[in-house]
């Protein structure tokens, strides 16, 4: 009268294996779920009952106890409907126990007995230790990415029972699609002029350096930022899987199963809440925008308009590539390794205190800029001031290199960085970057002058050296010389707008 069915629930973006134990005994008819279920799990009683009855499988009018082991951890989501139903069938002697031996189940039930997809299927099947795993047909392709041949697909609970009894074959797993080809990334060819900004994008992509655009409205900040993913290299398979797991766990998108080959681009609005951006939530802890941007680009337009707690929460993931969400009901680490692109106006009216155009008082400017904390600004290796493009450029400017050409240079530069044992230069440790060997004499002299004049801090020095290394890599030369260092210094010069706040 006891059945034990392997399944899993979602914990952040990871799956956690859960053993669904169902006990059916004589006594007053009733149904109890124990083992820290959330509302969705507790409601599964009604769904399972209706699904079983409408599939003609019967409902035991006896005492039913469902335990979700380990009972100390919280269980969320409706994915436990199917395992509970299967446990009932086995414990109620509808299905012989050998049929479900070494078989795991995940899926939500409809009242008509249909199997509905659940978020995070890839993570869930990865957590189940079984020879076969039965999943809803709609997400079977996604599951197959992780579990391969072990996946069994079905679209109703009746189908599951029939297939388990050997009366009919399993449904075909849906074919896996790799990166929907119709989605075209914006191309750098569309950008006229903006030599410096294009260069900054290229350096950001090649070195993984966070980038800040400071410029008036209409200077093309957003247009430029949306072109950054297009020059990043393709995701490697591990990254693709991780991106898929995160997006699937967020319930966001790819429940149709597509393995992204291109880096994601996320541009949350500044009105988004802290939870929406860093992750969390009341019912179950969901990954936020910064995790959805994992392995891709996070673009924060109007950086100064974001609430200060959100901006401060970015500091940890920028440093550690992980966001730790701590809540009363648990703590979860979400992956969050993203390339941050910020864009902001230099002052509330956008004209940046330029005589003749700016209408902001000094106090307004200071208040606007004070929102960005220095520790956050420190994370931007690149900060450039943009002006509005010339009219001639817009109408008839020479198009620069296309994204494909730039992407090729970026790939070459990244290959050089990988030769140093890192993914990209922004991850270079102090020990690697501090070595004097690669720095030419006049480059070292320039850095020393800037250090002595106080315009460069010790931390800034390392950041400049990393960027200079990236620029040298893009040039295809091994040593860093004065040109590279000077350019690195120029490409971060706009930081001072935000550090001092005041004009003149």
């Amino acid at each position: 009268m006891l059945a034990c069915i392997p399944s899993a629930t979602l914990h952040g973006v990871d799956g956690r294996s859960v053993s669904v134990e169902v006990h059916v005994s004589a006594g007053l008819p009733g149904f109890t779920v124990v083992g820290l279920p959330d509302a969705a799990v507790r409601e599964s009683r009604d769904r399972v009952r209706a699904a079983l009855l409408s599939s003609g499988l019967g409902w035991p009018s006896r005492r039913v106890t469902v335990n979700l082991a380990p009972s100390g951890a919280r269980k969320t989501g409706a994915g436990l409907d199917l395992p509970i139903a299967m446990g009932l069938l086995v414990a109620g002697d509808v299905l012989p126990a050998r049929c479900v031996e070494r078989t795991g189940f995940v899926g939500e039930l409809g009242l008509d007995g249909s199997l509905r997809p659940v978020p995070g299927i890839a993570s869930l099947v990865a957590a189940i230790d079984a020879d076969h795993i039965v999943v809803p047909a709609a997400v079977s392709a996604e599951a197959a990415l992780v579990a391969g041949e072990r996946v069994r697909a079905a679209s109703t609970v009746a189908e599951v029972v029939a297939a388990l009894q050997g009366r009919s074959p399993w449904a075909e797993t849906a074919p896996l699609r790799v990166s929907p080809p119709e989605r075209k990334e914006p191309d750098l060819l569309d950008v006229r002029g903006q030599l410096v900004a294009r260069r900054a994008l290229e350096v950001a992509a090649a070195g993984g350096h966070h980038l800040l655009f400071v410029g008036p409205p209409g200077s093309g900040k957003t247009m430029l930022a949306t072109r950054l993913p297009g020059i990043l290299p393709d995701l490697v398979r591990d990254e693709s899987l991780e991106v898929l797991r995160i997006h699937s766990a967020a319930g966001a998108s790819s429940l149709g199963a597509a393995l992204a080959r291109r880096p994601p681009f996320r541009a949350p609005h500044h009105g988004a809440t802290e939870v929406a951006i860093v992750g969390g939530g009341t019912s179950w802890l969901r990954p936020g925008e910064i995790s959805l941007a994992h392995a891709g680009v996070l673009f924060l337009d109007e950086l100064g308009e974001f609430p200060a707690p959100v901006l401060d929460a970015l500091r940890q993931p920028l440093e550690e590539h992980v966001i730790r969400v701590r809540r009363a009901r648990g703590a979860i680490d979400f992956p969050a390794r993203f390339l941050l692109v910020g864009a902001m106006n230099p002052c509330p009216c956008g004209e940046g205190g330029l005589p003749g155009a700016c209408r902001c008082s000094d106090v307004m400017r200071r208040r606007y800029l004070r929102r960005l904390s220095a520790p956050l600004l420190d994370r931007f290796d690149l900060a450039i001031a943009l002006g509005r493009p010339d009219v001639e450029d817009l109408l008839d400017g020479p198009p620069g290199d296309s994204s494909a050409v730039v992407a090729a240079r970026v790939r070459r530069a990244r290959a050089l960085a990988q030769g140093r044992g890192v993914r990209c230069n922004s991850e270079l440790g102090f020990d690697t970057i501090d070595g004097p060997s690669t720095l030419s004499a006049d480059a070292a002299a320039l850095l020393e002058r800037r250090l002595r004049s106080g315009s460069l801090s010790a931390r800034g020095l390392h950041r400049v050296r990393r960027v200079a290394q990236t620029i040298a890599d893009l040039d295809g030369v091994s040593g860093v010389d004065e040109r590279h260092v000077a350019e690195a210094l120029q490409l971060r010069a706009a930081r001072s707008t935000l550090m001092t706040g005041a004009g003149a």
Partner: protein, 375 residues
């Protein structure tokens, strides 16, 4: 610090909320205690409708006195021997002055009011600071309004000179009506290195119109008024009007014709105000004004005129690419993008050249934009 009878009742009269003109009428022909008594009994001839009778309760006298003590503010009534002579001759001089610091610094020195907009541009702030500094060096008392923007910059410039002349602030609020941290710091610094004046007793509310009204005090105190930046219909124009009415020389700092913060000043120039390029121009105006005032020490001219002579400056030796980049710069800050295009060089070359030009002092970077230094 306890107040004399006259100070006590003078402060009480100021606390009744009458306009400055009314207050003068209260004291016209009365001493302060008599005036108070007459108002309280409804028999003052300046208050035939007895509008102030119910306000003149003895409690106010105590409130004002303790507020003055708390803020360290001293009181002087018009006609008293300690009343600033600089103001005594003015037809609209305040009847009662509340001050911290030493109001005697106003005597015997040339005085220049530096006024302008609160929403100043970096250009205006820079000019105001320089003027404040150079005037203080020349022994001129800088008078201003303690507001953010031009006022604060002028005061700060004057305070930055170690043994310079004192500087005087005229408040449009009570002494304890100053709230922002920067204004508080400035008020206290002025109290130590000059004086802060107000017409409103501490602890009492001011109204917006006080700011316009106090501008007449600045105009009355000044031998010359300098307007640094002023928007179309800016508040500084009140000071200008008050100065014109008193025959005080009005000068203005020219600005870009495109800058909204210079619309008011440029119009003043068109209307005949004296243009000010640097402290020299101000000192000339001051000297002209002091011809008839032997009681005032004339300003000290700096030993060498600080004005740059424009073109013909010695250029440091530059390489070919540095020269090209330098030619691509002008005095309006340009983005790196613009410099790269104008010079026709690559970003790397421009970067190296800019760093070298910055080291040579012939280019300045401001927040990622580049310009030639403004001397």
């Amino acid at each position: 610090m306890t107040l004399t009878e006259e100070q006590r009742f003078g402060a009480g009269l100021a606390a009744l909320g009458a306009s400055p003109g009314m207050l003068r009428k209260f004291l016209d022909g009365y001493r302060a205690p008599e005036a108070w008594e007459a108002i309280a009994r409804g028999r003052h001839r300046a208050d035939p409708e007895r509008r102030y009778r119910d306000k003149a309760v003895p409690r106010i006298l105590d409130t004002v006195e303790s507020a003055c003590a708390r803020s360290g503010v001293s009181v002087v009534v018009f006609g008293h021997v300690h009343y600033p002579r600089a103001l005594a001759d003015d037809r609209q001089a305040p009847a009662v002055l509340f001050s911290t610091g030493d109001a005697a610094v106003l005597e015997g020195r040339p005085r220049v009011a530096v006024v302008g907009t609160r929403s100043a541009t970096p250009y205006g702030l820079g000019v105001a600071t320089e003027l404040g500094r150079d005037l203080a060096r020349a022994g001129v008392v800088v008078v201003s309004g303690l507001a953010v923007g031009i006022d604060a910059a002028a005061h700060a410039g004057a305070l930055g000179v170690d043994d310079g002349a004192p500087t005087v602030g005229v408040l449009g609020t009570p002494h304890d009506g100053v709230t922002t941290r920067s204004q508080l710091a400035l008020r206290d610094a002025l109290g130590r290195r000059g004086a802060v004046l107000s017409e409103i007793p501490p602890g009492f509310h001011s109204a917006r119109w006080w700011f316009a009204v106090r501008n007449r005090v600045m105009a009355a105190l000044a031998h010359v008024v300098v307007v640094v930046e002023c928007h179309h219909r800016g508040g500084s124009l009140h000071t200008v009007a008050a100065a014109v009415a008193r025959g005080v020389t009005v000068t203005a700092v020219p600005g870009s014709v495109r800058s909204p913060a210079s619309v008011g000043t440029n119009r003043l120039l068109v209307e005949g105000a004296v243009p000010v390029r640097d402290v020299d121009d101000v000192l000339t105006a001051v000297e002209l004004c002091l011809v008839t005032r032997p009681d005032i020490t004339p300003p000290r001219r700096p030993p060498t005129p600080p004005r740059s002579k424009g073109p013909g400056r010695r250029e440091p030796p530059l390489s070919a690419s540095q020269r090209r980049v330098h030619r691509a710069l002008d005095h309006d800050p340009a983005t790196l993008e613009a410099v790269v295009r104008r010079s026709g060089l690559s970003l790397g070359e421009v970067s190296v050249a800019l760093e070298a030009l910055a080291d040579a002092g012939v280019a300045v970077g401001v927040h990622g934009r580049w310009a030639r230094p403004s001397d």
